[in-house]
């Protein structure tokens, strides 16, 4: 029984860790891109959005090339005694990479829809850039950031292609829910497949409810109503 619940546990762990990483990374990237001059902004924006455009298997293949034993980075990591490929960390890496564009883009959209005059006003009031970001831009973007977080969570939870490419299907180690479903169906174990299916639907439902509540709360916070 304990073993059977492993995919759920792995999936939750992976998704939570990835989402947490993506939350900060996406916000930082959005902030960085917004401060750049137009041309650099365009290039970086395209680069950051790429994982969203590429098919997950292609993305996984790239990651395999990048982190695999034959690449310079892979060699370096090996020298340090770190092997990422086919480890639990790999599920987090693939989850993070696929969800990153979603968080980055929603965060940027959320920042951009904040009234320019409010930010300009803060500047004329002599507030430091950091203060403006932490106390004004971030809270006012909260509804968007929350939506981005839930999107990222759902995307990571459902991640299949890239994860299979770099983390494989090692039960109890890298076998996440979507991968478990695929292999259960493939081996004709309908009971297991349906159980996982039910679980994943429950989590998704929970996400939707969470988004509803967060969205509502953060809108209240922003408008003060």
């Amino acid at each position: 029984m304990n073993f059977e619940l492993m995919p759920l546990w792995i999936s939750l762990k992976t998704t939570l860790v990835s989402t947490a990483i993506v939350f900060f990374l996406g916000i930082a990237a959005a902030r960085l891109v917004m401060q750049l001059p137009a041309r650099a902004r365009g290039i970086l924006d395209a680069l950051f959005t790429l994982p969203l455009i590429l098919p997950p298997t292609v993305l996984g293949f790239f990651l395999l090339l990048l982190l695999g034993n034959s690449s310079p980075l892979g060699q370096m990591l090996k020298g340090l005694g770190v092997n990422l490929i086919f480890s639990w960390t790999a599920t987090v890496i693939s989850g993070t990479v696929v969800a990153f564009p979603l968080m980055y883009r929603t965060a940027r959209g959320a920042f951009e829809q904040v009234d320019r005059a409010v930010i300009d006003a803060a500047r004329t009031l002599g507030l430091a850039k950091r203060t403006i970001f932490m106390k004004i831009l971030l809270p006012l973007s909260m509804p968007g950031l929350m939506a981005g977080t839930v999107l990222s969570f759902s995307r990571t939870l459902g991640e299949f292609g890239a994860t299979l490419m770099i983390a494989g299907n090692i039960p109890g180690k890298t076998q996440t829910l979507p991968i478990a479903i695929f292999f259960a169906v493939e081996s004709g174990d309908m009971k297991a497949a349906l159980t996982w299916l039910g679980l994943i639907m429950l989590i998704s439902l929970f996400c939707m409810v969470l988004q509803g509540i967060w969205g509502y709360r953060s809108r209240i916070m922003v408008s003060g109503r």
Binding site: A117, A121, R123, T124, L125, L140, V222, S223, G224
Partner: protein
């Protein structure tokens, strides 16, 4: 407060080009919408960067393109009141003011002082969206003053207020600003006249005039300025004698001294006299349309004999006077007092 501004900035429709020196005065920048007046204000505040020029406030260089100086807004000590006030919607009234007070030790005391001064007591915990327009403006003013700015910029400060509230604020504003000098942007000439000693008139990014309000209204230096300041009756004109001009469009000669080389003549609607008795510079007229206000009436009239059906001149007269002359069906005369004619 001493401010010297000389800026140029290329914009999509035109190039903004402003030069002015201000010394202990309240100034209005007056111009139609989209004339670049708000952009000028933003350049002074540091929110926008001019292409060329220099801005000096009380001997402090805020911007100098030649020396590569461009202080960010947070270091300019310039207060800016935004048209929609730009309050922080997620902070309470006291939070909005508090965040602007630099000195943490004086924070509480300063907030209390400002709340009192701007009659905001009791609204400490309210959020901006719950406030009325007037209250929002007072919060924005209090927040701006919390930073102790050296110069105050007001962007269309009364456009979001209505009727009585607008009048009240126009009357109270100078006092509320601790009699600090301000530079205000507006498209309302009455507001500009009421609230400033000097007016800078702008159109398409260019300065048309910069002078004391009296001189500007009495002797506008050019036709474009006069039009922005409300001149409606304008026509081409030619000087035929030292004290006589010909206005072909209006079909009349007018007695008028002063400037010899002229190409246009104009007269304010308020200066045209309408009566049953011909006076100096009079001609018969036919009233075509009337726009009645509570205390005045704007008469749209055609000079007689009519040469041009399209041509309509305007006169603004007192309602009682209009009701009085209406009783008599005799011919009406419009007269243009020579000293009220504006020559360009």
């Amino acid at each position: 407060m001493k401010l010297s501004v000389k800026i140029e900035k290329k914009l999509p429709q035109f190039t903004l080009d402003i030069r002015m020196e201000i010394d202990q005065e309240n100034i209005s920048i007056l111009g139609p919408s989209g004339s670049g007046k708000s952009m000028a204000l933003k350049c002074i505040a540091g929110i926008e960067k001019p292409d060329r020029g220099k801005i000096v406030l009380n001997n402090r260089v805020l911007f100098d393109s030649e020396r590569g100086i461009n202080l960010p807004p947070e270091r300019r000590r310039v207060g800016y009141l935004f048209q929609n006030y730009a309050l922080f919607p997620h902070m309470t009234v006291s939070g909005n003011i508090e965040i602007a007070v630099q000195n943490p030790e004086k924070r509480k005391k300063k907030v209390r002082e400002l709340m009192e001064k701007f009659h905001l007591e009791g609204l400490e915990e309210a959020y901006p969206l719950r406030l009325s327009g007037g209250e929002q403006q007072r919060v924005a003013l209090a927040r701006m003053l919390a930073t102790e700015p050296e110069l105050i910029l007001l962007d269309e400060p009364f456009s979001a207020l209505d009727g009585i509230l607008r009048e009240q604020m126009q009357q109270k504003l100078p006092g509320l600003l601790h009699d600090k000098n301000y530079l205000m942007v507006t498209h309302d000439m009455d507001e500009a006249y009421r609230l400033s000693e000097k007016i800078l008139v702008m159109e398409n990014g260019k300065m048309l005039a910069f002078d004391t309000r009296e001189r500007l209204f009495d002797h506008p230096p050019n036709l474009a300025t006069a039009r922005i300041l409300g001149l409606r009756n304008v026509s081409e004109a030619k000087r035929v004698k030292e004290n006589m001009i010909l206005v072909p469009q209006w079909g009349c000669f007018l007695k008028c001294e002063g400037k010899q080389r002229i190409s246009y003549v104009g007269i304010r609607s308020q200066h045209v006299l309408i009566s049953h008795n011909p006076k100096i510079n009079s001609f018969g007229c036919e009233i075509v349309r009337i726009l009645e206000d509570r205390f005045t009436a704007t008469l749209f009239f055609r000079p007689l004999p009519a040469r041009n059906e399209e041509l309509l001149l305007q006169a603004i007269v007192d309602k009682t006077h209009w009701e009085f002359i209406q009783k008599d069906s005799k011919t009406l005369f419009a007269s243009f007092p020579p000293d009220k004619l504006l020559l360009f």
